[in-house]
Symmetry: D2
Subunit: 258 residues, 4 copies
């Protein structure tokens, strides 16, 4: 089974470029499942129903989220009944939406989990225990994908090693910079610290540089807008053994507009 | 001019592997200058005179540091008179050592600056202004290398764009995970968000997994030790125009022991 | 000389109650100078010209600010020419407004400095050095008041001791809870860790409890509004020696509506 | 029922002064229960069996802890079988020791809970839910004391209001500065944001000023030692209705050596 996992899609440029790249390469690579982190899909902050639909139309089948989950109020209109979108599982009981979802890829059940880190990013309950509990509830599913949305490399690597041999893949998101450390851990889990960002290439994390630099230099508020100009697409292809769910390969797939 | 810039060297495994790789590949690639971040060179925390000498013997010519600068007291015995080692320039006036150093590569003066970020990592004064001041003092040097030791990708990207066209290269360090975004920015500055770590390959940031995972799961203290086992080497090669100091290329050079 | 220093005034309830208390007690206590922290004066976030005028009308003569300085854009319309309002002095050079101001109390010059901490609250340059520089520029002024807007008690106490004998008073602001540690330090500086908040008494830091609790329990956004209901007024009276500028006394003055 | 709750006891000076004050005033005020936060009792960091015994001998009957819980390894030798000492309840399942304890005051059962905040201080699971669970397990106990060890005033006030009417008292610890806001909340819960520190009076949070200031000014390591010299004692007396467990009064009791 071939999974295509796409990093944080930022704004209209990200949505559009993701659509272009998927339409161009899906026929070539024939992934069995396309997943994308959509926490920045609408104006760089959160995701509306309209943006989600645009991603689904482009071929994305499942969407993960992160610290920007609640930035667009419109999410509350569909998160509860749309089985294709997951928010971090370590939000408290009673939080709208779901922390994981199960879909069928042919005859195979695939479990997709989203969780959020705590170092420098949130004050949620333990993502390690949240994932343990979900895995315990679904002992017969062997194809498990985890999007761990976190800031600190230590926490992300710790999650990769913690889950090694128990899930098919742990991919990190949130820093918007792709890392160069994709690998199969010894017990068969595919791992990458961060998928990187899909969206404007010449901004800072996808946002217009002017505002970000102004804030960093003046420490006063400045307008943050999705950047314009050429775009990038960050993703990995992960190949899983259909029977065992173990990862056979993980390969970065990065595209840059000139 | 070809620069070889090596990411955070961790402990004895990192020092030894750095030595092996440099001895193997330096004759082949013939770099004009070898720089390494050495903030973790001794037992993963700080750097002693003995470790620095070991790196110099291996071929490293200049050493940069970071948030672990002061972890080994022995540093105070040599930082003031060793012109080859720099600590972050945005430490306050009166701090031992220097924030930048100038060396000769043939006839060309090369200015190496070290600075530290503030997001999630320190409470120092502005690294942006600290670097501005150093550049202002040395208007005639065109070959300028910056090791920006920082946690947040936003701050590192901001520094890259802030210095684009004013320095030859901005390389990030500290996260110990190599990023996959090496590029030449539009005005000619080579940039990478993080060089990654040189040291144990199967630890967490170079440290033994057991202790790190124990801390993350129990939130109680646990022993942190440099990991054993196979090793990795993370670096970039940066080619600079001898005349203008602009970057012509930046290429990751990563080695992994099997 | 008697100084009345009032802690963070929050919203309309804070402005109104401050006015009532000042009008009631100023004739009785006859302060020579009334200073108030106004960073939350308008809707709990920042201060507009209208709110500042309201405070001036009520008898406040000088206003200090903090991390909410820039929350109301209207401030930019008057901060540069209104000598009665100061924002933290450790903002970078070129920041609108001033970090200190000098006023006359009878024949005596009084220097009021505002500075902001770095622990858990900002990424500004050193407040210690910023204040050192201001003091160095004004060696002949002996009546110096410092509003140190900071979160961590360690940083605030450190500032008090650092300036002991060099300024007349260091009063902390920002936590919105009055501390019970007003004292004269050994070299003659009046000190209190936090003045506390002037505004709604039954909210959380002056804001409506519902929204704050909702955020803390759900980790999702919730509306923050200035609370309604009975109010509190937090301040200190500080008596300075007219000649030396040393503090003779510091007394909390707290009022609570039933 | 009269409770005497003493704030963080720091080092030998704190232990000794606590002993002196208790021996002097206990006969006078005749508290029914003496509780103290002991997280800094040994050399300012953690608590050994010897220090705990010293506090018990002095009259302390129950000890609470905080972020320094694990600083002295000796704690592990007695925390599991000493029913008189509690560590934050929101540590994960399986953590040594207990998060609450129940003792008898005459015929009345008193439940003492310790919990730790998350803002700026820890990455533990929700203290709100941890306390909810404990309360749910003990519906018939009406005399409930909570030591909420936290940094941010917002989180501490939120806890007070969250538990108002459900527990007898919420006292904050950790900042080492006593607050001036002791009150009975509308539903009958006694509340104070911070009890303050019992130990050296002229240090910074009980530690020698030299080291703390050196760290803050140089951002390099400096030795932290418990300060010498005159001492302070910070506490509150809380009166509870024997029948309902509601608070009748809360009064700060602060002593300062001259
Ligand atoms: Fe994110
Ligand atoms: Fe994102
Ligand atoms: Fe570092
Ligand atoms: Fe490092
Ligand atoms: Fe503030
Ligand atoms: Fe405030
Ligand atoms: Fe503490
Ligand atoms: Fe403490």
């Amino acid at each position: 089974m071939k999974i295509w996992f796409i990093g944080d899609i930022v704004g209209q440029p990200g949505r559009e470029y993701a659509g272009e790249i998927i339409r161009k390469y899906a026929p070539l690579y024939q992934p069995d499942l396309i997943v994308a982190n959509g926490e920045n899909a609408s104006h760089g902050r959160g995701i509306t129903s309209k943006s989600a639909e645009e991603l689904y139309d482009a071929g994305v089948e499942l969407i993960t989220l992160g610290n920007h989950t609640w930035d667009q109020k419109d999410l509350l209109n569909f998160i509860d009944h749309d089985q294709r979108i997951v928010r971090p599982a370590n939000y408290p009981l009673g939080t709208p939406g779901r922390g994981y979802t199960i879909c069928k890829v042919g005859q195979i059940s695939v479990l997709l989990i989203n969780a959020m880190g705590r170092a420098f990013i949130s004050e949620l309950d333990s993502p390690f225990r949240a994932i343990d509990e979900i895995l315990l509830e679904h002992p017969s599913i062997h194809h498990v994908l985890v999007d761990f949305h976190a800031e600190a490399t230590s926490e992300k690597l710790a999650m990769g090693w913690y889950l090694d041999g128990r899930v098919s893949a742990v991919v990190g998101t949130h820093t918007h910079v792709p890392t160069n450390d994709a690998r199969i851990l010894p017990q068969g889990t595919a791992y990458i610290t961060d998928l990187g960002m899909t969206g404007p290439r010449d901004g800072i994390l996808g946002m217009d540089r002017t505002g970000v630099l102004e804030r960093m230099l003046t420490h006063r508020p400045a307008r943050f807008e999705v950047a314009a100009g050429r775009r990038q697409f960050c993703s990995v292809f992960i190949e899983l053994d259909d029977h065992s769910g173990k990862a056979c390969s993980i390969e970065p797939f990065l595209q840059y507009e000139e």
